[in-house]
Amino acid sequence: MSTIRNRVVALGATAIAASLVLAGCAATEETTTEETTSAAAGSTGCEAYAAYMGNEGSEVEIYSTIVSPEADLFMESFVEFEDCTGITINWNGSQEFEAQLPVRVAGGTAPDLAVFPQPGLLAAMVATGQMVAAPTDVADSVAVNYTADWKNYGTVDGVFYAAPLGANVKSFVWYSPKTFADNGWAIPTTWDELLALSQTIADTSDVQPWCVGFGSGEATGWVGTDWMEDIMLRTASAETYDKWVSHDIAFNDPAVVTAISEAGKILKNPEFVGDVASIATTTFQDGGAGIVDGSCAMHRQASFIGGILAGDYAATIVTPEDTTVEGGITTFYFPGVSADNKPALGGGEFVGAFADRPEVAAVQHYLTTPEWANAKAALGGWFSANLGLDTANVADPVNAVAVEILQNATTFRFDASDLMPAAVGAGSFWKEMTAWVAEDKSDAAVLDAIEASWPAN
């Protein structure tokens, strides 16, 4: 009797172990959000979709980093297109996109369309030979609706592959319009005016001109790289900026030395930022909070900080004209060296195809049109660099400023640290910018150390 019971216990233990393994496998499966559409081709209001017809009953998968709730707005923006054309768009969002896409491509299960969050991955995927160059109508549409800079980021070795989708902008200075109006400070339009205004604020008021925080856990220092990039794009030409990114000029090149010394005029000036070393231990969120509670006048940060300040620090996002709201914040453009020098630093996504099917081309084409961009922007919380995008459709005042910056920008460049090799862009560049403020490391020592860390090949 006892031997039988022992055997049962033993098997039970094995059963538990095995079921744990099974559960582990099941949990790693991706979740695909599928949509079902009732194809009602030819119904009223479908005239606008004439160019995409003839693909009824087909399906197109879009693989992306964008997941719910943002993904739901994308799906909503596709409904009319799907109803009219009979093409079903399957939005497949995964936060493991960047790791999984190469796996899927190597395994022969590439998605129809992939939304690349940065151009580096696009180039790597083109190198696999699995990508399909954008068809003529997509290329033509992008040529009309986007500036050449944006088209270039979707181009690899002279062949255009991926069309721009969404965008974000980093060249922002956050401020309180009420504080500015109360003190009679004017929005600066050049870098020198910005420095002069900082000096005026330091001399004539008890408000600290700038709040800066580099702290971001293990990614501490990225705020410093953004400052450097934004200034590099202004003190050097766009071509030099590109060479800097691709390491065709050294990281300690004179052009970069100029940029870091200009950045130091603000970041390493205790009159402007208070205790310089503490920048390294102030989180970027706390840095932004200074403009909400009025302890500092200006804060350079990308558009996303608005959401954090509104959510966690009870800030109200207002339009630049609204000078009455206490604690109301908004942005002005981080000025160039001259008033007509207006480069924009930011990022965006690009849609590239792995399948050469008419319905895939139709979806890729539709996503480049101003009609879709306006429809998508009207759903809120999103904008693109599409020249046909009407700012009236962009509800958020800061996003509206961002669209204006993008449409008026003399040049647009991607965040350099995202394009550099990870050893620099997610390593030494962060660490050295942190040491630059925390340990008062010299400009030259910082740049030399980053140059030394650049991977050899």
């Binding site: 233990a13 719910s68 739901d72 707005l73 799906m75 660490k431």
Partner: protein
């Protein structure tokens, strides 16, 4: 709320759950079938075969999991440590040369050494003292639970708590919330930005680890002290031994094996410390340690070569301690 409305219109919860449920049911059925098969085999097997089958059923799953989860990754890491960043070609010992020559990596090694010496020593000494002082005390459980409580807090949680303790407010107009700054001010000092002060900051991080590990040392050593036979203690009392001599000549030798286990266990934990540094300084301000740098190299900077080399160095450093620990455990067991 609009978003949910869209989702609801497109897909009922049942539609989302149903496929998973189907997979679950099929999985369980398949599993039951396998179990049933094993039962039938077991019934039919001879007595001798049943004996073997028993070993097999016990060992195979464990060995399989060990092979997949431990042995294969270990060899793969060793292989990767001799390869370049994207593991496409062999580069010999270059990653190891890199690890021992780059100045920032040398800092990492020195810091790790500081941790490894201080944490086990301080945690064990403090833990031992508290265990001894509370050994024959009435109502000691309240004190013991307070000291043991940090053990129940995750390293990241503890780091966030201590980050508040070390908090520094550069803006004089704002309220300072750092406890340590408040103490310094009360004593008449001007508080520095604690986490920026090299080498003080490494010691401040070490305090967090000691705070967590002391409870562990106290509980294990306290339990060992309870096992000391009363006759021995009474005999020494009758012989007129002072409290201090009794501690040195009776208690310590009697719990020696437990002390060794506590020290080595904390030591291994300290070599692997990663969460505290990552949460509090991100490895900046010369506080980096080997485990954090390993993660950063492999998964942030995507250099699997250098990351693996650091992992192997860590592995080689831990191995003798693990071996010693296991040997001590075995000795202790055989003594009983």
């Amino acid at each position: 709320m609009k978003d949910f409305a869209i989702l609801a219109a497109r897909k009922t919860p049942w539609e989302i759950v149903a496929p998973n449920l189907t997979v679950l049911v099929f999985g369980l059925l398949a599993f039951a079938a396998v179990i049933f098969l094993i039962f039938i085999l077991a019934e039919r097997a001879s007595v001798k075969a049943q004996e073997w089958l028993k070993y097999l059923v016990f060992l195979v799953p464990a060995l399989l999991l060990l092979a997949i989860g431990l042995i294969y990754p270990a060899f793969r890491t060793l292989l990767l440590s001799f390869m370049n960043a994207d593991s496409s070609e062999f580069i010999g010992f270059e990653n190891y040369i890199w690890a021992f020559t780059r100045p920032e990596i040398v800092t990492v090694m020195t810091n790790t050494l500081t941790w490894v010496i201080l944490v086990p020593l301080a945690s064990t000494v403090i833990g031992l003292s508290i265990a001894y002082l509370t050994d024959r005390m009435k109502r000691s459980s309240a004190i013991k639970s307070l000291i043991f409580m940090p053990m129940a807090i995750s390293f990241v949680g503890a780091s966030i708590i201590w980050k508040f303790v070390y908090d520094f407010e550069p803006n004089l107009k704002k309220t300072d919330i750092g406890l340590l700054s408040a103490i310094a001010k009360a004593l008449g000092f001007t508080p520095p930005n604690w986490l920026l002060e090299v080498p003080l900051n490494t010691f401040l991080l070490i305090v967090v680890m000691i705070w967590i590990q002391t409870g562990f040392a106290m509980v294990v050593l306290g339990a060992a002290m309870k096992n000391i036979p009363d006759e021995v203690v009474e005999a020494s009392m009758l012989d007129g031994a002072t409290q201090w001599r009794r501690f040195l000549l009776i208690t310590i030798p009697m719990i020696r094996a437990s002390i060794v286990v506590v020290v080595t266990t904390i030591l291994i934990g300290t070599l692997k410390v990663f969460d505290i540094v990552r949460t509090m300084t991100g490895g900046n301000f010369s506080t980096n340690v080997i485990a954090n740098e390993m993660y950063s190299q492999a998964f942030r900077q995507l250099n699997y070569g250098t990351g693996s080399a650091l992992a192997i160095i860590l592995f080689v450093a831990i191995t003798p301690i693990v071996w010693y620990n296991v040997r001590q455990l075995r000795i202790e067991r055989s003594e009983r």
